[in-house]
């Protein structure tokens, strides 16, 4: 059974259609990362998956249960970490954890708080007021609150935003540990390197749909591939490649990045113009380039 299945989901706010025909599957025990521009509908989707709001149309199942009819049961098995930390700064870390433990009616609240605090290295700070915590510690405590009750799926909405690099790496380790303990992590992030390093699968959300899905490597391989052509600088003035074919070029006009599919045609044009070609090298795609390419294609209407 998959952790999450989303079929043909639509959601609009007034005339603004946010999710158009959303389809997605998240397997159990993996880290799935949802990427998309600001306003692309990531939070809307998370709200639907966490039973906070309803889709206008389509079918959503969490752990095999439909969100519409089994919302109560689903809430027992999920937890949500919002973009902002949801802590009471006047209270101690322990008091914050206890509130969630009591709301989830945990029988061994104290034991579970102790165990999670040790796991997230929070024990020595538990009796201090949260107002005195650093940003990274607050994030860790916020995640600890989400782990109480042993939920099957943890939704982490941009958990590392505003966190310094050292704490970011620590949070990555925590997220991996959660996955390694058999839980499913549904992650959103602004950092593409984070998605690359952490994710088992990634989905690119664009224009209300998942436009790319796969492992980080699959996505990089299956995305539009680019080739860099380096020409001799003495031939610069002769070069007359059609503008639509060139994705980018350097200031000197000696390096061209082109879509791999246009390689043969470009080389033919350059040879016909007697331009000396130094090298033709395939480019390694990073997730960032793939992301930028997708959003650029979308803004160009392709």
């Amino acid at each position: 059974m998959d952790a999450i299945t989303v079929k043909h989901v639509k959601k609009s706010f007034g005339d603004h259609s946010v999710l158009k025909d959303m389809n997605l599957t998240v397997k159990r025990g993996e880290i799935f990362t949802l990427l998309g521009e600001n306003g692309s509908g990531k939070s809307t989707l998370i709200n639907i998956l966490t039973t906070i709001s309803l889709a206008d149309d389509g079918d959503v199942q969490i752990l095999g249960h439909p969100v519409v009819s089994d919302a109560g049961l689903i809430r027992e098995n999920i937890s949500l970490n919002s973009q902002t930390v949801t802590l009471d700064e006047e209270f101690t870390g322990y008091q914050n954890l206890l509130i969630i433990a009591e709301l989830r009616s945990l029988k061994n609240a104290k034991a579970e708080i102790k165990q999670i605090s040790e796991r997230l290295d929070l024990t020595s700070f538990l009796n201090k007021k949260v107002g005195k915590y650093s940003g990274g510690m607050k994030r860790r405590l916020d995640i600890a609150m989400s782990l109480l009750g042993d939920p099957e799926i943890i939704f982490l909405d941009e958990p590392t935003t505003g966190v310094d690099p050292k704490n970011r790496v620590e949070l990555w380790n925590i997220i991996r540990e959660i996955r390694d303990s058999g839980k499913t992590v549904f992650l959103t992030t602004q950092y593409l390197d984070e998605a690359d390093k952490l994710s088992d699968h990634i989905g690119f959300l664009n224009d209300g749909k998942i436009v790319l899905y796969g492992t980080p490597d699959e996505i990089k391989q299956n995305a539009r591939q680019f080739v860099q052509i380096n020409v001799d600088s003495s031939n610069m003035n002769l070069i007359d490649l059609p503008e639509g074919m060139v994705v980018s070029k350097n200031n000197k006009g000696t390096n061209f990045i082109i879509d791999e599919r246009n390689t043969d045609m470009c080389i033919k044009i350059l040879i016909n113009e007697n331009v000396s070609i130094n090298s033709v090298v395939p480019q390694d795609n990073s997730l960032e380039e793939v992301f930028l390419d997708i959003t650029k294609l979308d803004s160009e209407g392709n």
């Binding site: 039973t51 809430r75 027992e76 902002t84 949801t86 989830r104 009616s105 939704f155």
Partner: protein, 260 residues
């Protein structure tokens, strides 16, 4: 049963927030006390009641019911602030994803608000006793006084909800409480209405706070009658405001939930 337990957990949380926050304690508990002492010991002897300058004790007897309502009205600002903070910090969102019935979430704010206002009112009442205030009330009138206090606290809590859910910051969330305070100042709460200029007097006579101060005063002075205009007007105002703001609160909460 689980919902009641969760209601208690969340109510305790909000009460603890209020009672451990210095700003809240100063505004809702200490400020009404300071105002009470200022009015009684500084202004009281210069205010004419029934045409003659009142003694400190007479003024205290006249004004204390109004200060009880002021203490509660000041608490309503913090009701709005707490709800707004939970909204802007994402705590409401977290609660919506937990196995909690939706009514429990807002219900805890309402319950905590009413309890906090009653605490604030009790502190002012005890201070009044220390200053020499002696009410003249039967058990039945005392029970009615408690009921009126609870209904007033409930009403201004309901008024706070739509403002708190609509406001984009805590600074604007509590702003509505100034309207309630202004209504209390332009009423019979602290001075008789006889000397007010005509349009202001007309406004004071016909707004809800005058009737509510009047019924509180009647109950504490053993002058309560079920046929009195204070009672009938208070009843109409309270029932009307509860119906109106229950609807507005429900609507705003529903809109907020959809927009989450």
């Amino acid at each position: 049963m689980q919902s009641i337990k969760q209601l208690m957990v969340l109510t305790k949380r909000i009460l603890k927030q209020n009672l451990t926050n210095v700003d809240t304690v100063i505004t809702v508990i200490l400020m009404p006390l300071f105002m009470l002492m200022f009015f009684v010991y500084v202004l009281g002897g210069n205010i004419a009641i029934s045409g003659v300058n009142a003694s400190t004790g007479e003024y205290l007897k006249y004004a204390l019911p109004g200060f009880l309502l002021v203490a509660m009205a000041m608490g309503s600002a913090y009701t709005a602030v707490r709800i707004n903070l939970d909204k802007t910090k994402g705590f409401l969102k977290r609660l919506h994803s937990l196995p909690i019935k939706r009514w429990v979430i807002l219900g805890s704010h309402v319950l905590a608000s009413v309890i906090f206002m009653i605490i604030s009112e009790s502190v002012v009442l005890v201070a009044g006793f220390v200053m020499g205030y002696r009410p003249d009330l039967s058990v039945g009138n005392f029970a009615l006084f408690v009921l009126v206090s609870l209904l007033f606290a409930f009403t201004i809590t309901l008024i706070a909800i739509p403002f708190s859910l609509k406001a984009s910051s805590i600074e604007s969330a509590g702003g509505f409480s100034y309207i309630i305070l202004m209504l209390l100042f332009v009423s019979s709460a602290f001075i008789p209405m006889d000397g007010m200029v005509r349009p202001v007097r007309w406004f004071a006579e016909n707004q809800p706070m005058t009737a509510l101060v009047g019924i509180t005063r009647d109950l504490l002075n053993n002058n309560f009658s079920i046929t009195s205009s204070n009672f009938l007007q208070s009843l109409v105002w309270l029932v009307g405001l509860i119906i109106l703001f229950s609807y507005l609160s429900y609507r705003r909460y529903k809109m907020f939930s959809v927009k989450l």
